[in-house]
Each structure stands twice: as C-alpha cells, then as structure tokens.
Amino acid sequence: MSAETDLEELRRGTDLVKRGFAQMQKGGVIMDVVDPEQARIAEEAGAVAVMALEAVPADIRKRGGVARMADPADVEEIVDSVSIPVMGKSRIGHTKEAQILEAVGVDMIDESEVLTPADDAYHIDKRDFTAPFVCGARNLGEALRRIEEGAAMIRTKGEAGTGDVNQAVHHQRTIKGEIRRLEGMSFEEREAYAREIEAPAELVHETPEMGRLPVVNFAAGGIATPADAALMMHHECDGIFVGSGIFGAENPPVMGEAIVEAVNNWDDPEALAEISKNLGKGMKGDANVDLSEEEKMQGRGV
C-alpha cells in the first residue's frame, strides 16, 4: 500500500474519533475560564481542558437577561493561550452558534442549559458536526436522546452556578438507578421502558449490556470543593466539570490543584483530608432549595 492511498483513506469526525476525544478526558477536571490568564492558571493546576465562557454560571445567574455564546474573538484568544483542549458553550438548539464555535477551532461544544435556549423543542443535530458535543441530562431518557442526536459525552446538569452539589448527585443517582433497573428487565420490558422514557429502543438495549451510558459520563453543576468532586467520582462519574467553583474561590490556583488531586484520590479518605486542608474560602453559592422554579436552569432542554 502506498503512502498516498493511506492519506486518501483518512476519515475525520467519525463517532470513534468524537467519542475517543471524550474518552481521553476521563479521570480529569474541566474548568470554566473567562480569559487567557484563567486558562493558563487552569492548565497549570492540571485541568484536562478548559471551558471558555464570557461569564461563569454564578455570574450569569446574578446578571440575568439573555445568556449567549461568548465573543468568538475571546474564545480564540483562549484557544491560542493553552495547549490543552478548549471547549465552548452554545445555546440549546442554536446550530449557528455551534458552527461558529467549530469554525473558531474549539475541541468540544457544550450545548448548554446554562445559556438561554434558542429552540424550545429541538436540540442541535450534532451528527452533522466534525466537533464532538457534550450535553447535560437529568435522567436516562434525556441522556439517550442526546446520544441519539450525536452527543459524544453526557454530563449531569446539576444546578449550575449554585455551588450546591445536591442536584448533580440527584441526576447521577437517577441515571445509574435507571440503568440498574434496565439490567433486570426482559427484552419486552425494555421496549416498553424505552417508550415510557421517550428514548431510542436501540440505545435502551445497549446501555444495560454495557452497564453504563454508551458514552463518557461527567459530573457538572454545583461542584465547589475537592470533596464534592470526590463524591461525584464515588457515584461513578468519569470526570468532573467545575464551573464557578474554582475562579469563584478565594485562591483559584490552590483550589484548582486540590480538585485535580481529589479526583485522582477519590477513594482515599486520608489523602482527601490532606488535599482539603487550608484551601481558603470556597465560592459562596446559593443552596438549590432557595431557588424558585424559574431560577433553575436544569429544566431547560429536556
């Protein structure tokens, strides 16, 4: 076989390549950043990737109004400032924001409920993209619908910008619980369950056979401390997104590094105790229970 023939057989943007990117993030911490300086701090702290944003979710929450994709010039600046992958957030259903982020060169697109949804009925058809996508989910039905649309990674929605891990735990426990229920079901019961949760039957059969979601499953939404990150690893997440928890903390480099080390040592309480000492104040946060239904982001895009 000549080298020329080889080059012609090159294929980009396949499921294997998109899901493979997500697999390389496993066991890692992905940190929200708003400028190149924060991106470099995150990289130095051991982040596997950064999420380039205009404002962290806690600030988006405070500011109110319509939250949109960041300025592509700012995203580009962050892309150029670090060697680790850079992700960007598009509004739910906003195909054009996603195409713009892909054109700027982001490595993964988060179709995110943290921004104001652009479409109240449909998500982006993610199969058309070369860039892989991550999407939020609160339960198995949402997760499998997003995978069917082409998502290469699922994350819990949690309740972004609160610093309260409660909802991320709730969503992860819900997804794992539903997978365990499926494992005990017959073929016919799974078919009926697929209709009940409005998920594609093929994926409903595939999931219990794998004993996990068919794509990488991260935790996100309200993770603010090393112990929170370790808790989500204990609940069998593959890795962690930290939004406001790092740059909303008193000492971001120290908090960032501690969360990275906590993910590696999630099952070692003595190591976690050392890692958790003297980190300074964490983000203040808002307990999820204090939010009105309209203030919650997790119900966007189901």
Binding site: E9, K26, G46, A131
Partner: protein, 208 residues
C-alpha cells in the same frame, strides 16, 4: 500462567487499556490481573505496564506528585515491557519540547504535541505498522495526536504523512495513535509478548 499488568490510571482512557490487555493476554492463553495505578507501590509487582492516552500535562504532573514516575523508570530499566500511547508517548519521551511536561526520558525521541492539529483535525486511517502479527493495515485512531520529530536510538515502526507515529526503544513500544480504542489487539501483542528486547518476569522459565 498468570500475569500482573498495570495501567497508569492518574488520568485518561484507563478502562480501554485494561480491556485491551485482558483481550490480548487471553488470546495468548494467559490469565491476567490488571491493576489501576493511581499511587506509588503498585508498579514494582507488575510484569507489564501501559501508559494511556489523556492530557500529557495532567498525567505528567500526577505521575510525579504521586511518586509513580521513578517506579515506571525502574520498570523499564529492568527490561520489562511498557506500551505508551499518545499522551503516554509524550510523557515517556526524552523531549516533549514543552516546559509543561516533565518527561520520563524512556524513549529516545523528540515529540511535537498536537502535531496534526486540534480535535477537528483528528482522524482514523489504516496504517502499516512493522512487527505486527500479520501485514494487514492497523486501524489507527489519532486524537489531537503528537508526532515524533526526531528519532535517536529508537526504531520507527510506522509513519503517517512522512512523520514517525510508532516507535520501539528497547522494552518500550510507543504510538501517537490509540490501539486501545479498537478491538484489534496486535499492537498490545507486539508491545507485551512479541518484543524480544523486553522480558516478562512471570513468563520466564515457562514454555511459550
């Protein structure tokens, strides 16, 4: 015969390597106990090691802070096999041409990180690799992959677009692509069982 395998598990696609090792050992008729290495003290008991793909800056940082790095170096100095893929290749190289990576200097190559571009440039392609069990092209998956810029004493096993992407240096086999992402076990087979420059302690004095 039962083997002990270790996968450096501080970050990256660890389960995929563990499955590939189990599959490869089984096809050779060996039982294998695969251990995840997230702290020091486990590597010395391992017959063979894999360093997975992931982010080289993160993996480099944690193998040093957790005290695993000198154990991996001792493993290779003892002649035991190591397979390093993508980020693993970068961390194991002599020179990663990047201050953010503290190299283990186990493979005499200089690498360029992200040599083929960003994720949108990532690709899969059939690749001719020397030393595999047969001559069929290998289904290689390159994800934000590095390339080897300069080769010292290492042997080049495969090249893509004129740049080396798989090498062997003594007991170490390293690839810029991800043999753990496809069911094809030939690269793991080469690294652990068919590399004459490596020895697997548990297989010594047994008939192969």
């Amino acid at each position: 015969m039962s083997l002990v395998a270790g996968v450096v598990a501080v970050q990256g696609d660890v389960e995929e390597h563990a499955s590939a090792i189990e599959r490869t050992a089984e096809s050779r008729g060996y039982e294998v106990d695969v251990r995840e290495i997230r702290e020091s003290g486990i590597v010395p008991a391992c017959d063979l090691l894999a360093m997975p793909g992931g982010e080289s800056t993160t993996i480099s940082r944690l193998v040093h802070s957790e005290g695993i790095a000198p154990e991996i170096v001792a493993h290779v100095e003892a002649g035991k096999p190591l397979l390093a893929t993508c980020a693993g290749l970068i961390v194991a190289s002599r020179d990663a041409a990047d201050d953010r990576v503290d190299e283990l200097e186990l493979i005499d190559v200089t690498v360029e990180r992200n040599a083929f571009g960003r994720q949108k440039d990532s690709f899969e392609a059939p690749l001719s690799v020397d030393g595999l069990a047969d001559e069929d092209p290998y289904p290689a998956v390159f994800i934000r992959a590095p390339a080897i810029e300069a080769v010292g004493s290492a042997d080049v096993l495969a090249s893509w677009d004129g740049r080396p992407v798989a090498v062997r240096d003594g007991p170490v086999v390293a690839t810029a692509f991800h043999p753990e992402l496809t069911p094809d076990s030939r690269v793991h087979g080469l690294a652990f069982f068919d590399n004459e420059a490596a020895f697997v302690p548990s297989l010594e004095n047994t008939v192969r």
